[in-house]
């Protein structure tokens, strides 16, 4: 790959990009292109892409916008197939920039190349150890791929996801979507074996109708946050429909029709992605809750109702098994309240009884930390059961300090753990929604 505009000046994009590519451990050849430098960050540089004929497939371009067309032309002549154009100063600036972007696109297409950007903050491909972006580090390997229209916010979110310990496969900052847009990228990620779940941060789409048709055929879960209110003109309102059908309402309808899980907050997109990438889909929308405290289970029960999930009606057998395990004054009906007990045995017996109950489709296991209990104990019970039953389990180990070992074990054993009961239930609702989409919407 070539890095055009690679630099020794730490204040430049061309520095950061090359640095990240090298630090990421990209295994192919890396060629810095800079007419002014013989060596860039220790690598031998070339003055022009022309020198690299036949040697590079991918070019990352970070030169001022007025030079981009000339560089792209050289790339085309030298056999480059893919471009990541980081340079800004195109359609996002209006007027002249718009014209320049049109010229850029036709040039790219004349050579049969494909382009991400311009105005992208880069791409990450974990499989190829390629970090051609401004994100400071590579994520852990995993099945979530992330498409973001906002550069800075999107990459901050990616950074945050890395912090959460989520495994990511591809990160793509789309920039102006001049050549490749959401439809191209979704179809690519659908074919990509290492992608299980797609997360999107969207502000608008270019080819809405095509997106709708394309996503109907994609069975991998897609979770999206769509921001940006409609920009209704100043035109006087003529019809009710005209005034009500703002772009936001239309997006919601379109997402529902093609099966995109729309979430309302940025934290929700990765919460949902975590559940979708680690849990099997539930057979239905009935939930059983186990908790060592009544408060947490009430919060979770309320959230279930808000999200259209129903509390499972437990069978007599299940309730008997639970009753024999928990204190006499505790609740053996759903939500199951162990009245403060959180030993391995109690959590194992109760959770297993719930998992075996045919009326239960998924489990929300809650644990509220106290100074008298050990957060690792109930986590051990879930870790043990997780691999034995094909039902989704979301968890919420509340309490912060003291819960770390338990949380770590949950993560390691494939239980999706969340900070609050609401977030756990919302993630569960995303699983239910995707199952419904697969049944009703996907073709």
């Amino acid at each position: 790959m070539a890095v055009v505009g690679a630099s020794n000046n730490e204040k430049k994009w061309g520095y950061r990009l090359l640095r990240n590519i090298m630090d990421g451990g990209f295994r192919g050849g890396i060629y810095p292109v800079n007419p002014g430098e013989a060596h860039v960050q220790g690598l031998p540089g070339v003055p022009s892409v022309k020198e690299l004929e036949g040697k590079v497939e991918l070019a990352v371009i970070a030169v001022p916008s007025q030079h981009v067309l000339a560089v792209v032309d050289e790339c085309g002549r030298s056999g480059v197939k893919g471009l990541v154009v980081v340079s800004a100063g195109f359609a996002e600036t209006g007027g002249k920039g718009k014209e320049l972007e049109q010229e850029l696109v036709s040039l790219v297409r004349d050579y049969g190349m494909r382009m991400i950007g311009p105005n992208t903050l880069g791409i990450v491909n974990e499989r190829a150890s390629l970090n051609a972006s401004i994100i400071g580090r590579l994520p852990r390997q995993g099945g979530i791929s992330f498409i973001t229209q906002s550069g800075t916010l999107g990459l901050a979110l990616a950074d945050w996801a890395i912090d959460m310990g989520l495994g990511l496969s591809k990160i793509i900052s789309t920039g102006n979507k001049a050549d490749t847009d959401d439809v191209d990228l979704l179809e690519y990620l659908d074919r990509d074996e290492s992608t299980q779940v797609v997360v999107m941060y969207m502000e608008g789409v270019k080819r809405g109708r095509l997106l709708l048709e394309s996503v109907k055929r994609i069975k991998k879960p897609i979770v999206a946050i769509k921001t940006g209110r409609s920009q209704q003109g100043a035109r006087a309102v003529f019809s009710h429909t005209g005034s009500m059908a703002g772009s936001d309402e239309v997006f919601s309808a379109a997402f529902r029709q093609c099966g995109i899980i729309r979430v309302g907050t940025v934290e929700c997109i990765f919460d949902a992605a975590l559940a979708l990438s680690t849990q099997p889909l539930p057979a239905g929308n009935s939930v059983a809750i186990i908790s060592n405290g009544g408060g947490a289970s009430i919060v979770a029960t309320d959230e279930c109702e808000k999200r259209g999930l129903v509390m499972a009606e437990l069978s007599e057998t299940t309730r008997d098994r639970i009753r024999q395990t928990i204190p006499a004054f505790a609740s053996a009906s759903n939500p199951v309240d162990t009245a403060g007990t959180s030993t391995v045995e109690v959590y194992r017996i109760v959770t297993e009884a719930l998992l075996q109950d045919p009326g239960v489709d998924s489990i929300a296991a809650l644990y509220v930390h106290t100074l008298l209990s050990d957060a690792l104990e109930p986590a051990k019970a879930l870790a043990e059961l997780k691999s034995k039953y094909p039902k989704p389990i979301v968890a919420c180990w509340m309490g912060g300090a003291g819960t770390e070992a338990g949380v770590e074990l949950l993560k390691k054993s494939g239980v999706a753990d969340y900070v609050t009961p609401e977030r756990a239930i919302k993630a569960l609702a995303a699983l239910v929604m995707h199952r419904e989409f697969k049944e009703k919407v996907k073709t």
């Binding site: 809405g208 003529f238 019809s239 429909t241 772009s247 309402e249 239309v250 919601s252 309808a253």
Partner: protein, 216 residues
């Protein structure tokens, strides 16, 4: 953008099988009385002018006309009000409609969205749409199942389904009108906006009473 006149608009709706309440156009007082007689009493009379999309605001609607005499008076007052309301507006005359049977008011709408193309809207009429915005949208074309989902999705569905009544309203009839609207926009790409408002849903059947539209 252009506004079709009532003749064109009602004609188009009829062509696509959207059930309209029986109507006739009349240009003069004599025609109006004759039209009223033919559609039958009680009937309604409304101003017909593409310059007046909101007919009630212009004093251009008289309901419950019961006799020839009432019909003549209604014509006079509607034309006078309309002339006062919109100076220089081109007035096509009036539309005389049979009063629709009992039912619940709903609205079916169409809008062309710049990113997704034509979108259908459904909701209960009056304050339900204007204040509570209790409405459902789908990108057209829709399947029968999607149309039914739209009807079930609104909070007011329980009212349609017969809340506190013995008999539900005819939900299949609503679905049929939604399907007709879906076919309509597939063939008429030039519709920018349209309201079928109200669409009265009866215990059996549904009737469109009025509509307004904007064509590209």
């Amino acid at each position: 953008m252009r506004r079709p006149d009532d003749t064109e608009l009602f004609g188009m709706l009829g062509e696509y099988g959207i059930p309209l309440v029986p109507y006739e156009f009349a240009r003069t007082r004599v025609e109006a009385v004759a039209a009223a007689k033919r559609v039958g009493y009680p009937c309604a009379m409304k101003i017909s002018s593409k310059d007046i999309p909101h007919k009630t605001d212009a004093g251009g609607v008289v309901l419950g006309i019961a006799s020839d005499g009432d019909a003549g008076k209604a014509f006079d007052s509607i034309m006078a009000n309309a002339r006062n309301f919109a100076k220089g507006a081109s007035l096509d005359g009036v539309v005389v409609q049979k009063m629709p049977g009992k039912g619940i008011e709903t609205i079916i709408g169409i809008k062309k969205d710049p990113q997704f193309g034509h979108v259908l809207m459904f909701g209960l009429g009056g304050i339900f749409v204007e204040v509570y915005k209790d409405i459902a949208f789908r990108v057209a074309p829709v399947s029968v199942r999607e149309a039914l989902d739209m009807v079930r999705e609104i909070k007011g569905y329980r009212i349609l389904a017969g809340l506190r009544r013995q008999v539900p309203y005819d939900i299949d009839a609503v679905v049929q009108v939604l399907m007709a609207a879906s076919t309509l926009v597939e063939e008429r790409g030039d519709i920018a906006e349209m309201d079928i408002n109200p669409l009265i849903v009866h215990e059996s059947g549904a009737t469109a009473v009025d509509a307004r539209a904007l064509f590209e």
